[in-house]
Structure formats: structure tokens, C-alpha cells
Symmetry: D2
């Protein structure tokens, strides 16, 4: 799969300065500010190849688009198709047209995408981890065969509907409900509202979590837009976002949307279903945000070397600047090592959700904190969107809040550490 | 002056919930989260009246405009005229149509404006502190009489041109130059570029600091747009800003712009001139950012009381939320008390620039830090621009960088504390 | 009162470098790193005189003793007598041999003492604010006349018994009980244990808070050591403390200690009694810790100017050092201004307890945070106790935990801000 | 070697709760607050066995001694002999009676020791990394054979003399000098002073770095106490330390101390020599401080579960407490993973000194920061030395300052990142 991916991509592509800096094989050990703990040494050859493909694609095809996309809140849905062509979607899933790569490899893809923009990564995470991952884990064989190959190609677009307007950190209180369809036999009828749903306005298939009326338990449904009569499904975009403007976000309004029983996940009940999907997405975020942080470092370092103040010294010469860079580089290295470790444990079957809470929280917090501090290096110039740093800062704040706001993960960890819950 | 201001404003104005909360006279002491150290008790009646006028105007006339203005980077130049009508411009200056209020009063006006938006406050600060304040301090009697009354009314708009593309924290290295005009007798010819100039695209008079060729020393010039032949003065707007989008910012390109000798400040040479203007503006910022912080607190508190998660508890019930609020409220109170103290010293002639560095730095840093933490309370909803918190966060970052980036003020303080400079 | 205090002290005292630096009257405004916001300008002449007396005494008489006292956990009870002679005890109380100075003046005394050591200040706070203040506020006329004059002279030593081994932040759950004495008519019998009681091993009179058996309500009792038969009152010292080693701390074990009814406070019931005492003490802490911070600044600044590393530069020349000093100086200035404001409100009858929570928490946190950062300037030399900085750091941690740990004050503030309690 | 170590230790030892908790093999993955990222899975069986031996020894033999040792500044030199018996000294060195274990294994030993006390670990680090490591790397075959076996047994005690009273962060400016001995042929004569030298008062052999007079270059000398005539070598202890009181620290005064030429390191010149030793020690510190942090977590967690406040809830139930624990646990996990990665790179020959700067700085800073925050959980009880937390906090501050103060490592990293130095 990836062999062809590499080939597809390799043709029109010039060697990227960015990519080559990242994966240069040096003679003799030396310090690399881009990989100071030499995490490349922890990767397999396949993983390195996948990462190179992803980095190249992202730098060549996404980087040139992001400035305008973010300015204008204009997401190009072809991006997912391009990623699909390269095998970058659902890359860690087995079969059904997926690459079957490692969890770490999938993480390296998210890092490559988020090095360009967290919004692009969000769009991909929804498709790969939440929708494809959810179907792969909870779907029937028929559901898998019907949806996964097209999702993997990016020809079918997915969205994941869990969060509701009044229930963010507490999805267990959701109000969306599924009941037997009053007129269509063998169908459920879904009603309710979801919000902050990445990709919802462009999604063909929406994985919606709703309470089954007869049991009161949460179940998962694959809502197909093409089968919803007018007025039963609306997915208006949310505009004027303060961040993640290069991704498309919307609501899902269901008003008696018909869903065949065959589109319900057969076994999974309660929050187990959505949480297992989120777990996989969260892992991707933990690695993804390291990309945004690394790009922030790269931009700040370049700026600090080029900008001169006071007797012609580059900013890089000043202690207060060096400390900011040293802190950021260190946190990026630590986050990457930790995330790789969790990926390995996941593939060995030795991971638990709290480990993912741990790296998701810490890496999002560290990426945000450091990006903000690096932004100071740009002074007033950070106000120009062309330096890109303001975009990362705004985006990273959102990564800290979604798929488990950091405080919530603190309490998940606190519960695991002490055996006592402190949510209420 | 303010009596009429109050009258002008009082007529069409309904009692504001916001304003009344702020200045309610309670029976018996009680804790007010909006003024926890009862700083109102430090104000004179006049100052309270001025603040009320300003708060009312800002809440009634500016607040409804800011969302769209920020979205679309669309600054309404009438705002300065409205402020002028109320006597809010250059309010602490004596004579020439200015209100002659205290430094603290002027600070309370900036706080009222920045409670709505830092961009609006920036536009006003430039007019009031930098341009009017500069002319008042350094101008000839003729310059004062010619410019100040119209600037005070907001009928003439000003800009302040110090920062250059390659010289931000280090203005002493500026490249803009003034030399005798080659053809127009009694005129200087100015050439060079300034950037990040608030109001430049709409300004009628631009206070430009340039090196006088014959002496190599920095002098101040009042460039009048109406007198500049085509091609000698251009002031393109900078668009796609990541913050302060409700203000208008641009460049100043001078290419042989003619300025009569009578428009040069007569005595002040070197950085003393611009720095004395900045000093006054920085004081206003120190108080202004407290407004943005207080509005962030107010919004976060409201959200925390209304938003319910986990068994119907409002967010306000959770310890992690309360700590964020307590920290922010405390820093707002401390910043206000400190700023009032510096204002008093200024009016007594007992202030030194380092005091202003101290409150400018601390208050900007505290406002930004706390606004960011308060933003967490909103979770994903912070991404909606209608909650306003993201705007404050983005704006406050800029206040930390302009008129002396925080690190620069640290080094100014460090030098004053130790007697040793660490700039280079 | 203070006039004689000044005289008593003035005789044997040489002008102190420390004191003179603090209160020098400069010609023309200039930046003072010791008082950067010129808070001296907020003081009355009397307050300045009182502060000078206190500073002189502390620097001349306490400073030379503290190193050995801290090393050996050896508190000299004569200190309180010396302070009494100078009128420094209960200085803000009216009558009964007290100086009747302002709240701010009393705060300046605590600051002077804590500039030397937080332990010395703790010993004085207990005597002045908790014991004397408590009797002054809640005692009968007889109690006041009997105890206050001797306490003011430091000839009678007091302790304040509230905290119990199992009840720190939650004194309402106390277990100490008072019941009618089984044999002595007109007496109560007190039983229970108190811990972390400053001065308990040397106290002559112990203000003990206990639940009155018949009502279940908390009442205050003045336990006189001389009247307790052997075995009914024990006050063992707690040794091997990690901080506040220059103060003496102990437990109070009561086993049927007899207390005459006349020694119970007549009206106050519940936590109102101890909390009003604590309020006054907390105010003193808010000003006191500024003294410890200012001394830390002074020591760090001196070290940074004298210590040379890398090409003979003093440490003070380095940006990372200057930032530490600038931050600390700023926080000391802010804390002082805020504390003075609360003192003024207190004397005007316009203070509420939450204001004191606010300044106590913020100033303790700021003093501790900055002292720790200043400690870094000393590098390995901080390990030598002769530099004094490690002592301040260790002490200041305790100030953060006693009389309301910072988190508790956060929740007090959070409750006041939101109207919702989050203690449980 | 370790097989016998295990045997020696295994005999008198009961299974330790602490040790067993650490290395329990659970059925099925589960979250362990003691090893949340399952770093045990990264260790070899040998490494696990070594760690178990070390943990058992430390908990059984060191833990009971530390309280009194710290109180009284009383270091028991037999400790090194006990460690030697178990093969814990210089464990990663090959030959000469050393265990030849991995770098990570040696790190696990330091972690076990520092779980008890940073002072004990300091004493061991000096012996193992600085003295034994230095001789192993720079010594002649004769020097190795003469010194290493006895040092490995802990029968010969070593000290490392680099830092001078006036030269801490900048050892290149050292003043200690070696010149040909005026009377003893084939001998150098060393004169100068070293300070803050762990173990100096009890050391038999002191590795002293001095400038060779004839070249001006720094060289390393093995000064044997037994060969120094009275008056030529003095090693007074430094008492009244504010931290690391369970280790012994002193000065080294050399006044014409005779050192045979055979005791000079043959090839290494300049700062390369001491820096290579420090590199190894720093690695050990990076892992060691994780032990102190983990013990702080364990103590705080226990306290939070046992201490009840407000309606009988354990402190562990409160959100503000859980966040402190979650943060600490996360940083401990990250630090451990990162340190293991550097250890692996070191053994593969792929490490560079900046990597060690990176983990030394980050882990010391994180351990200190978190231990301080955990200390807050204890409230006033932290003042009792029996809770142990105050000791860790005081110790960890020193780890941040020695073998490269954190700011210095920031600048080392900054230089590596930017290519520009900012030391002066």
C-alpha cells in the first residue's frame, strides 16, 4: 500500500528542504534541534518511509493552501481524497483498503499534517480515527465492507456526532434519541442536535451517537445523507471561528432522520463506543500537536536568526530568546518520545485509556504553552498572519479543549491515581 | 467639559446593567467581584463621572459594533469623532479644547474602551496619548493651536510613526531621514518607511520621527496628508491581522514628503521625544488592559454560571473553575490599584518612566495570562467568536508586544534595579 | 506611645544602611528598586516613623540573632518583651497600653520583622493579632484590663489554639470540648488537642477554641497556664521543623484543664470568633511576606552584583538574571500597594474578609514564587545558610499554608465571585 | 556480578511493599500511577533485576537512616561500602571489578537511591560517575588497576574537585594551579581551593582539576590523601547546609600538595576532561531526580488519601488536589521515558552532550516544580520533617543548581539550537 503511496507521491515531488532536514542521516551523532532525542532511531524503516511520504505531501500540497484557507474559512474537501490516494487515511487499520501500518506510523501522519495546520489534521482525524476507526472496531462485517474502502480513498467523507450544544465534557447526558421509525419498517428515526462537528457540512456518512429510546442506552448509528429526506438532516456550517479555520465545522440537526437497523453498531452500548473512537483520535492528537509545535519552533528559530535588533545582533543571540527556544525544543522532544511509547504499548495490547489521556493532555498543553511563548519572539510581527505563528497558537488552544478538555483529563488521571472521582 | 459630556451622553442613554453594576453604591461594605479592592474609593467624583460617561458610551455605542468590525477588519473612523464629542480624547491635557482631567481619569477612559476591545482602545490611544500628547508636550504654541482642538474633537485624525520594518524594539536604529527639501524652501523632505502604524491609512496628520540628515539626530515632524503631493506619502493598510482587527493598521511610506519647518518639533532631539509620548500611551495601556481582563472575567463568570455539566452543576461549582476566576479577579484588582498609584504619582510630578514600564509590563502580562486561562472555561465554545473571549485573548497578546515588548521592559527594569544594562 | 518608642530605640542605635536606603528622601523623582511605586508617599508621617523604629530594631537586634536561632530552633522569648518596650505589639489596638496606630502601621511593623524572618513575625503575629486582637474584639472589659496591658508589654506571652491534628483547613470539625468542670464550681473543664501552635510552649495565656458541650457551639477560652494543675495542660514543643525554625511551635494538650467562666468570651459563638482574629493576622501576613520578599530581592541583587562569571561580568549583567529581579521587584511593589489599600479600607470600616483572603493569598504566593526564583541566582551557594535565601524560601512556604492555605482562599474567593461554594 | 549482588542482598531481605508495587507483573494492562507509561516494558531482565536489588537495598537500609542523617548532617561513609558490596558503584563500567551493566541500569540505581534521598545519591554519583567514570575514561591502565577495584568496593572513597569559590558556572576561569614540585622530583605541587565538594572530608582520593602552570591548560590529578604531608591538603566540611544534609560536603584546600606525575591523566586537556565526567553524572541525575519525584508523589498520594477535611472527604477527592497529582505523575513518566531513551543512545554511541543537558535540565526542573506543588497537599504538616516532603523539596533545588544550573543548560541548548552563543 505505502509502496504505491510513495510512488504516487514521489513522482511530482522535489526533495523538500523541510523533509530532508527532518530525516537526514548524519555521519556520527550530532545534536538536531528538530529531533533532539533522536526519536527517529525508535522508528522502523516502514514508519520512516510513511512519515516521509506524509511530510512531503503536506509540505508540497497543503502548506501552499493553508494561508488562504484559514483566512477565508475555506476547506477544500479534495484534501481527503488526496490523502486517500496516498494511503494516509485510516493508515493503522487492517484490511478494507487500509494500510495496516502501526499506531506510531499513523501518529507520524497526523504529525506531518498538523505541522501544516491543526485544522487539516482535525479533518483527517475525524475521517481516520473517529469514523473509520469506529466502524472498524464496532461495525458489522457488512458495514465495514460497505463503508471502509470508500472512506479510505477519501471518496466518501465522514463525520462523528457526539457533542451536543448543552453537553460537552459530559456526553453521557446527551439528548439525541433514536426510536423505531413510525412509518419505515426496519428503520430507526433519529432526532436531536450535535454541534462543533468537524466535517459535518460535507460529510456523506455521519456516525451519530444517540440514546435508544427503548433502553435509554447510547448506541451508534451511521446516518447516510443521501438517504435522508429533506428536512430530516441539516448540517449548517459554523462560521467566524476563532481558530481551526482551515477545517470545516458545523452542526447536525436530526429531525426524524431515517436510519436502517443495519446501520446501527450491533454490540456496543453506552459511552464505550464513542470513547473507544476518541481514544484512537486522542492518540493521533498527542502526536499531531507535536507537529504544530515543531513548526512553531522552526518558524521562531528562523525569525530569531534573521531579525536583528540592538547593534545588529540577531534575536537568537539574546538569553531570553534562547530560553524560549530551549524550553520548546525540550517539550517537543519529550512529547514525541512519550507518544511513541504509548503507540508501541497500544500495538502490543498493553495500553490503557488513561495513558492516552496522559499524553493527549500533556502534549496539547505543552504545544500550546510553548507556541504562545515562541509567539513572543515575533513581537508585533506575530500580528501578520503570514508568519503563521498566530494560527498555530489559535489552533492549539482548540486541541486543548476538544476530545477531552485538559482539566477533564486531569480528573481522569486523578481518578486513576487515587481511586476517587472528583468530577462532581 | 465633562459636564457637557455627561449631558450629551446622558440623554439618549438607558442605564446600563454593566455600568450600574460597576459603580453601584452599596449599603455597608460588601465584596464586589468587579472591584474587589474597592478602587472606586480611590477616585474623585469627577473621575467617577468621567468613567461612567465613558463606560456608558462604550457599552452602548461600541459594544454593538465590535463583533462585525473585528470579523471584517472594518474600523469606523467616526468612532474618534464620537469620542471627541464626549470629551474623551486627550482628556488629561490642559487647554486647547481638552478636558484637563487627571491622568487616572484618562486611564479610566482607556479602560472603558478596552473593556469593549483593545483595538478600539489602540485607535484612541494613538490619537490621545501619542499624537495629542506629543504635540502638547513638544509642540510650539502654533502647532498646539493649529492641531490640538481639531484632534480633540476627533475631526482631525492622527497617527504616530516610529516603528520601522527592521527596527521594532530598537528604534534608535531607524532609517527614515529628513533633509532640506531640494526644491521647496523652508521645507524638509522626508523619506523612509514605518510599519504597524495604527490609524495610518485614515490619518490626516502623521507624527513621523526621522533622523535629521545634518545632525544624525532623531526629530519629530507633523506630516499633513493634504499637503503631500501624490507619490510622496502612501499609507497602505495591513490586512489579515491575527488580532486588533477592529482597529486599522498600516504602513507609512514617505518618498520625499514635504514638511514645512514649522511642523518640526522645535526642541526635542533623540529618543526623548517619542519615548515621552510612549510613556503616556503606556500608562493608558496599563489601565486599558484591565478593562479587557475585567470583561473576560465577566464573560467567563457568566458562562460558568450558565453552563451545566455533570449532574446539572454549573461549571462555577467546580474547584478548577473557581481557581481560574479567583486568580483573574485578583490580578485585575492588583493591576488597577497599581495603575492608579502610578497615575497619582504622575500628576504629582513624582513618576519616572520605569514605573510605567513596571505597570505596563505587569498588567499586560497579567491580562493576557488570565484571559487565556479564562478562555479554558469556555471549552470548545471559545471557538465561536460570539463569546468574545477569543478576541480578547488575541488582542491582549498584541498589547504585550507593542509600546515595549514585555521582555524589553524587563530589561529596562533590570537596568534600573542593578545599574547594569543587559540589552546587548 | 511611639514617640517614646522612637526615643527608646533611637538612643543606642546607629543609622542603618538598610533603613536609610529604605526611607531616604531623594531630590526629584527617581526609581527606587526598594520601593518602585513610591508607596512611601501613601503613608502618614506617623506611619513612616513607626516603620523606621521597627526597621531599626529588627535590623539591629533581630538580624544578628536569626542565623543561630534558625539553625538551632532556638527562640528567645525576650524578643517579645523587646518589641513590647518599643510599642510594637498590638500596635493598631486602641487603649490598654496599645499604640492605637493604623492598620497599615501595624502592617509595616510585621513587614519590618518579616524582613528578618517569617518565624519572628509569626511569633509577633500570634501575640499581636490573634491573642491581643482577639481579646480586644471579643473580650469583656475585665478580660481586656487584665490581659492586654501585660501582653502589650510582652511580659505576658500568648498563644492561639484553633488548629487540631485532624482539622486544619476545616476547623469547624474541631474535637476539643468544654464542659462544666465536674468539681470546680464556676469553671469549665477543657479537653482536647491543638497542634502547630506558635508560642504554645512558652505561652502564659492560651486562647483556646473549643466546642461548648451543652450547645455544640464553638466558644473562646483564655487558659492561664499558672492556674492549670499538673497534667491538665501540656504544651510540648514540635522540633525538627523544616521551616520557621526561629519561632517556637508546639502542641496544646488539654485534659480537664480548668478555666473560670470569666475567662470565656461572652458573646461570640461559632467560627466568627477565631475567624475575626485570623482576619487581622492575615492582614499582617499580607504585608509581612513583602518584607521577606524584599529582603530576598536585596540579597539576590547584592549577590548578582558581586558574583562574577564568564569574562568577569557580574551575574547582574545577564538577561535571565535581570528578568528574575524585575519580576520579583514588580510583585513586591504590587503586593505592597494592594495591602496598603486594604489596610485603609479596614480602618474606614469598608473592608470585608474576602479582601483579606485576596491579599493574603496573592502576597504569600507571590513572595514564595519569587523568593524561589531569586534563590536560583545564588546557584549552589544557596545551600549555605549564611546567604539567608534558603531560610526565606522555606519560611515563605509555610506562610502559604497557614491561616488559610492558598487553595482554601481560592475557594473563598471563588465562592464570593460566583455565589457557589466548591469546598465539597 | 549482579547475580551475586542479588544473592548478597536477597538473603536478609523481606519482600518490600515498595519494590513489589513497583515491579508487580499484572494480568492484563492496567494503569499504574507508579509507572503510567509502563517504562518497565523498555527494560531488559537484567536491568529489572538490578533495579530490584537497588530498590530493596535502599528501602531497607537507607530509608531508615535518612531522617536522622538529614537532621544531624551526619553521613555514614559505610553506605558506599554497602553499595559496593552489592555492585551498585560504577555499575555501567566495564572491568576492574565493575558490573558492566547498561547506562540505563546505572540510572535505575541512582533512581532507587534518590527515591530515598538526593544526598545519598549525590554521594554515590560522585564515587560512581565522577571519580570512577573519570578514571575509567581518562586514566592510564595503571591508574585504573590501582584505583577502580577499591573504589568499586567502596573501600576507597573518592571526591571530584572542579568548582572553586569564585568559579561555579564558569570553571574555565579556575585558579588552582599545578607546577613541578620544588623539591620532590617527578611530582607536581598543587595549590588552590575547591568548594562544594561532595565527600571531600572523607575522601581517600581526590580528583582535582588544575591548570598546569607551564601550559595554562587544565589537567586532572588524583590526589591521594595518605601521601599529602600535613598542611598541604585540608578538606573541612561545610556545615549548616540548607539541603542535601544527608550527604557530606566540604572544601579542598591545597597548599603545595605533592602528586606524582603518574597520578595525572595522560592525555586529556582543557575542560573536556571534567565535562566528560559531568556528562555521565548528569545522566544519572536525570534519572535520579525521578526517584525523588516519585517518592514525593507516593507520599503526597498517601497523605491525600488518609487526610480528611470537610465532611469526611479525603483530600484526594478534591479537584485542586487531583490536578497536582496528575501533573506530577505525568512529568515523572515523561522524564523517565526520555531518560531511558538517552541512556539507550548513549550505549549505542549515538548520544551527544546536549541530549544530556536536555534531560538533566528538564527532569531536575520538573522534579523540583512538582515536588513543591505536592508539598502544598501537606499543608502545615509539611513543616514536620517526618513527612519527608520538605526534604525532597530542599534537595531537589540543589540538583537544579549543580552540575550545570538550569539556566546554563538552557544556554547550552540555545547555542545548539541556534548556532549562536549567549553566555556573554
Amino acid at each position: 500500500m505505502f509502496r504505491s503511496a510513495v510512488r504516487v507521491c514521489a513522482r511530482p515531488v522535489l526533495p523538500l528542504q523541510q523533509a530532508s532536514r527532518h530525516f537526514a542521516s548524519a555521519t556520527g551523532p550530532q545534536f538536531s534541534w528538530e529531533d533532539p532525542l533522536n526519536t527517529k532511531s525508535l522508528l522502523t524503516e516502514d514508519e520512516i518511509a510513511i512519515a516521509e511520504t506524509a511530510e512531503r505531501y503536506c509540505q508540497e500540497r497543503l502548506q501552499p493552501r493553508v494561508l488562504e484557507a484559514y483566512r477565508n474559512e475555506d476547506y477544500d474537501p479534495k484534501i481527503l481524497e488526496e490523502m486517500g490516494e496516498l494511503g494516509l487515511l485510516g493508515a493503522n487499520l487492517e484490511g478494507y483498503g487500509c494500510a495496516g501500518a502501526s499506531t506510531v506510523a499513523a501518529g507520524l501522519i497526523t504529525r506531518a499534517v498538523e505541522r501544516v495546520d491543526s485544522g487539516y489534521r482535525s479533518g483527517m482525524s475525524v475521517q481516520s480515527s473517529l469514523v473509520m476507526g469506529g466502524i472498524h472496531e464496532h461495525g458489522t462485517e457488512e458495514q465495514k465492507e460497505k463503508f471502509l474502502p470508500e472512506l479510505a480513498k477519501g471518496k466518501l467523507l465522514g463525520a462523528f456526532g457526539l457533542t451536543e450544544p448543552n453537553h460537552g465534557s459530559d456526553p453521557g447526558s446527551m439528548e439525541t434519541v433514536a426510536k423505531p421509525h413510525p412509518t419505515k419498517k426496519g428503520y430507526y428515526s433519529l432526532s436531536g442536535s450535535k454541534t462543533w462537528i468537524t466535517n459535518s457540512p460535507i460529510a456523506d456518512v455521519l456516525m451519530v451517537w444517540a440514546k435508544l429510546q427503548e433502553t435509554g442506552k447510547i448506541r451508534g448509528f451511521l446516518v447516510e445523507r443521501k438517504d435522508c429526506p429533506p428536512g430530516t438532516l441539516e448540517t449548517p456550517a459554523i462560521k467566524n471561528k476563532t481558530a481551526l479555520r482551515a477545517s470545516i465545522t458545523g452542526m447536525i440537526h436530526l429531525d426524524g432522520a431515517p436510519v436502517p437497523e443495519a446501520n446501527m453498531f450491533p454490540h456496543v452500548e453506552g459511552l464505550t463506543g464513542p470513547f473507544s473512537c476518541l481514544n484512537s483520535a486522542r492518540y493521533g492528537i498527542s502526536m499531531g500537536v507535536m507537529g504544530a509545535l515543531e513548526d512553531s519552533i522552526s518558524r521562531a528559530r528562523t525569525y530569531a536568526l534573521e531579525r536583528r535588533q540592538f547593534k545588529g545582533n540577531p534575536l537568537a543571540k539574546y538569553q531570553l530568546i534562547q530560553k524560549k527556544l530551549a524550553d520548546a525544543v525540550t517539550d517537543a522532544a519529550y512529547g514525541t518520545v512519550a507518544s511513541i511509547q504509548v503507540g508501541r504499548l497500544k500495538d502490543e495490547g498493553n495500553a490503557v485509556p488513561e495513558m492516552i489521556s496522559l499524553v493527549k493532555r500533556q502534549n496539547c498543553d505543552a504545544a500550546l504553552r510553548n507556541a504562545r511563548i515562541l509567539q513572543e519572539i515575533f513581537g508585533g510581527n506575530a500580528t501578520s498572519d503570514e508568519y503563521g505563528i498566530g494560527r498555530h497558537v489559535a489552533n492549539l488552544f482548540v486541541t486543548q479543549t476538544y476530545e477531552g478538555q485538559s482539566d477533564i483529563h486531569s480528573l481522569i488521571l486523578g481518578r486513576a491515581i487515587t481511586g476517587v472521582q472528583a468530577f462532581v
